[in-house]
Symmetry: C2
Subunit: 242 residues, 2 copies
DNA sequence: CCAAGTTGTCTATGATACTAGACAACTTGA
DNA sequence: TCAAGTTGTCTAGTATCATAGACAACTTGG
């Protein structure tokens, strides 16, 4: 691996090495507590200078993924949150099941007008008044995802304030008399985090995110809320059951 | 956006701009045929030199995402493949439904021994003989994903040759008398493409990929094959139905 | 204690990324 | 035809990336 190989890829070499090591951890080639190969050995496998490897490891160490011990070696630290995608998906339940403490945080709430896309998703007319809620979800102080949620301002007046108080979408819906709801079709893709989300998720620029678009319906199939969520890919793994 | 902001993120500035524009297209802010803002305007919104924007646009143009017209502007070109995740998921059907021509290609087949992980997934003992098939799937000549598939070498002797001939996992299983099969639990996450897959998928280094791990079972629930697939995130969108 | 192997830190050098400014070539609409 | 706005192409200067080598500081096992 040389500068010529990566020419015009737009990612620094040390970043490729860091991604490679991180993937090794994600794939289970290295498990929490394992000792990584020595810097020299890593340098040889990636055909890269040892300094480049050091920079990669430093980046991983700063993110808490590995920990270097002078004279001894570099060791693996972290894990991923298993996130089942079911028709009944509640963030707090999922995080709780993993033995971690769920948190919600309101970033911003504002009024908005429905684009054609949003109107179709929510069964409203284009231009209909909406409440837009920008929120963040954490597990044990680690940011997991940020999501933008839209609700009809007519069906859910003052939804922003209710969310600010309850910090839970489930409780917000309960407040308006919705006892239960189901997730409709979910669209998943991946992308690269933008500067705004990177700051919110405490993620380095250029990290991958899982992008999820979904609409929740009540039991009669009437659309309630539609969401656009961005998950830190390095901290979560979706499970689809059949 | 300055070099200081991106310091130690490991992604080139032009790459962030390119990703931002591409995401604008993915999110529907720009649709195929739309004219992008002028280079100067983009440079201002990202607070970046015009040359940096030009490099970003050049990268997008090379990938066929946009097309520049001198004296006029830069225009949007492409779309994504909708990929439903059901218990009965067949690549050829999905691509066909999108009006495109599905293709399969064998990259490599070899013998392998089951790791503890693979053995558990396939209901075998660790060290059991496996056939490992590295394959690639395309839609209209565009690479969509590469996957590594493992099967028991005892249940499916010579599976590599059969796949080479049929280039279809469904037909391979039929050859061994498996008439129907179902997908079990599927794990989805995102990552950054490595050098090998980047070459196979014709993807630039540092691009995001969707990583899917799944095991297929026969109708009695007996595990047949387990797969590790990597999808070019920029070309596909998963649909989860509830 | 010693030797081998590990991570930490320094200096130096060439290649690349980004910025900056200027101007050419072309398209569009008035 | 003309002016404004667009993309294309030069030249330069500065900061960062990656390589290279040497040595210090520390851990581990014999």
């Amino acid at each position: 691996m040389s500068m010529q190989d990566t020419a015009s890829s737009g990612v620094a070499l040390w970043r490729l090495v860091a991604d490679g090591i991180e993937r090794g951890i994600a794939d289970g080639r290295f498990v929490a507590g394992d000792k990584l190969p020595g810097e020299m050995e890593i340098a040889e496998t990636y055909r890269v200078n040892r300094h480049t490897v050091r920079r990669a490891l430093a980046a991983l160490a700063e993110r808490g993924i590995v920990r270097a011990e002078r004279g001894s070696g570099t060791y693996v630290e972290a894990q991923k949150l298993a996130y089942p995608l079911r028709s009944r998906t509640r963030f707090s339940e999922i995080v709780g099941a993993d033995g971690r403490e769920p948190h919600g945080r309101l970033i911003e709430a504002s009024d908005d007008a429905a684009t054609r896309e949003l109107a179709r998703e929510l069964g409203l007319k284009a231009g209909a008044p909406l409440v837009r809620i920008e929120a963040m979800r954490l597990a044990d102080r680690t940011p997991i995802c940020v999501s933008t949620t839209w609700l009809s301002a007519e069906l859910f007046p003052g939804a922003g304030n209710v969310f600010a108080a309850t910090r839970s979408m489930t409780k917000l819906l309960e407040h308006y008399g919705v006892r239960d709801y189901r997730r409709g079709a979910t669209r998943i893709t991946a992308g690269i985090v933008d500067a705004t989300d990177a700051a919110r998720l405490d993620l380095a620029l250029g990290r991958p995110i899982l992008v999820v678009d979904a609409t929740d319906h009540d039991l009669d199939g009437k659309p309630l809320v539609t969401k656009h969520s961005r998950f830190a890919a390095e901290r979560v793994e979706f499970l689809v059951e059949s």
